[in-house]
């Protein structure tokens, strides 16, 4: 597609439920990133996929968080047993090459609210 697409745009869930967030990167982009942005704060790195290499999971805050990516296409971020502290905007981004000059193209994010 023309841009990075994320769904849903907004998600309200009850504490303790599992949620799945989806990201469709730009076609041909080999690198895909997930970030978390809490209200009024900067972006916090979660996980990074690059082609068929093992993902960099160093930013995942707990084992309740996991992510998958099928080849160089769609990625899903799963949060199990959600907590109120998980409430945030989850942003996905993709780029053509992992170490290139061009920064990323971001999606519009999913706003997750845990009640």
């Amino acid at each position: 597609g023309a841009g990075v697409s994320q769904s849903p745009s907004n998600k309200v869930t009850e504490k303790g439920k599992d949620v799945e967030l989806r990201c469709d990167p730009i076609s041909g982009h080999t690198a895909l990133y997930w970030y978390r942005q809490r209200l009024g704060q900067g972006l916090e790195f979660l996980i990074y996929f690059q082609g068929n290499s093992a993902p960099d999971k160093s930013g995942l805050p707990s084992d309740r968080f996991s992510a998958e990516r099928t080849g160089e296409s769609v990625s899903t971020l799963t949060i199990q047993r959600t907590q109120q502290e998980d409430s945030a905007v989850y942003l996905c981004a993709s780029s053509f090459l992992s170490g290139n000059y061009y920064g990323y193209t971001f999606g519009s994010g999913t706003r997750l609210t845990v009640v």
């Binding site: 972006l43 990074y48 690059q50 960099d56 170490g99 000059y101 920064g103 519009s108």
Partner: protein, 116 residues
């Protein structure tokens, strides 16, 4: 580990005036990239300007320019002839060159208000 610091949580500028947003960073690398991103209420992060650390010349994109001071590890953004559409959160970001650790490290952001 790399860190990025934006010490101005909020800034205000009058329309048509000039404003400078500050950013400092810490790294032991000699070459890297620096970016400024804009985040309007739509949430989407939009790349404003980028700089390669090995280039001494400051990057410019229309009304946006940077003052890159490598020795001081400073990377400020200047917005000239400010417009109402410039109102947004602005984030400074750092990225290593090469390797697998290519994630962007962001500062905490500066909220820019543009007044009439």
């Amino acid at each position: 580990a790399q860190t990025v610091t934006q010490s101005q949580p909020e800034m205000s500028v009058q329309e048509a005036e000039t404003v400078t947003l500050s950013c400092t960073y810490d790294t032991s690398e000699s070459d890297y990239y620096l970016f400024w991103y804009k985040q309007p209420p739509s949430r989407q992060m939009i790349l404003v300007i980028r700089q390669e650390a090995y280039k001494q010349q400051n990057a410019t994109e229309n009304r946006f320019s940077v003052n890159f001071q490598k020795a001081a590890k400073s990377f400020s953004l200047k917005i000239s002839d400010s417009q109402l559409g410039d109102a947004a959160m602005y984030f400074c970001a750092y990225r290593r060159i090469g390797g697998t650790a290519s994630k962007l490290t962001f500062g905490t952001g500066t909220r820019l208000q543009v007044t009439l």
